[in-house]
Amino acid sequence: MSPFHFEILLFVVSIFAGVLGSLVGIGGGAVIVPLLTLVFHVDIRLAIGASIVSVIATSSGAAVAYVREKMTNIRVGMFLEIATTVGAVSGAIITSYVPDRLLFILFGLILAYSGFSMYKKHKEPEPLKTSTDKLANRLRLDGEYIDKSTGETVTYAVSGTKMGLFLMYIAGLVSALLGIGSGALKVPAMDLAMKIPLKASSATSNFMIGVTAAASAGVYFSRGDINPLMTGPVAIGILIGAVAGSRMLSKLNSRYLRIIFVVVISIIALEMLQRGFS
């Protein structure tokens, strides 16, 4: 295969990865890294470099819609970015010392966890009315949004800021190590640890993903792990796919799609784990 044909193939495959990623809310990177490493035998660090840039493309491309929805809690997002960016920079630094096989194992585990958390039923608790968390009150992190299904305004208080910061540090670290958005870690950090309603947690997580990815992309770039001939087609392909995927979302029955995708993700996770252990 000539480099030119490879570029075209990479572009087309990335469109599919972007569609799939956005349909199930896992991000294109989770699909593209296994593809590049398992099928094309690309070095895992170059695959991660290409993926991290595509994470930025997707999140920036989608940001317009999220801000319009007014569900994003920008104060919470900015507060937690203290932890995600520091986590991402430390992850990008330690990745040089992490053996490749450990990256494959970690990728497999995170993917399996993402698939599992996507599948399991989520019971939403009542929003917190008042908080005893001093930091949350001092920074006025409480928020509100309009629930589209009921038309009611939901107001909520925020707690567990310390635990939230810790979990976000881990999310930033994982994002930088694996080149993924790690929304599967960010949402529970807000939703379970900080008691933020799920819808506001998801919107705020999407808002944060691009900034987290940018913090490690800078390090990957200066280290020479952003190969332009791979990253270019992947970033554009995933961007187009993600936009198309988000338009398709309302028309598809997402329940069956999720089941299919959980199966696909489990297979990819096993492949990655096998590569790590072999």
Binding site: M1, S2, P3, F4, F6, E7, F40, H41, V42, D43, L46, V53, I56, A57, S59, S60, G61, A63, V64, V67, R68, K70, I74, R75, M78, F79, E81, I82, T85, V86, A88, V89, A92, I93, R138, L139, G210, V211, A213, A214, A215, S216, A217, G218, V219, F221, S222, R223, G224, I226, N227, P228, L229, M230, T231, G232, P233, A235, I236, L239
Partner: protein
Amino acid sequence: MKSEKDVSLEEQIRRAETIISMVLLIGVLVSSFLIVMGFIVTLSHDHILLKGSYKTIIDKKYQFPHSVSSVIKGIGQFNGISITLLGLLCLILTPIFRVGASLITFLMSKDINFIFITAFVLFVLLISFFIV
């Protein structure tokens, strides 16, 4: 209870947010344009994409610019790969720009805590380019 002043300030911030998200979109479009442009220039000026196997360009030994100064130098020579890299750099800078713009909205509302928080995040993002 929110005073009228607070409401108008909130309105101002919302408006700033809308402008910022439009700028984000423009950032994505400009970088996509540069990435595609770079690809076309590479295809027409360079033989790297037409000769040999794809394994050359995915190899770890394949060399390309990886500092801002070498990218700019390459653009002076109308090098396609450098144009693509400039597009990728624009893409990486887009969220950083977004944090910078948030800092301005917090400065507008004189929110001391968040001025510090946002400035710290911006600082971490900017130093990331100098860590190898």
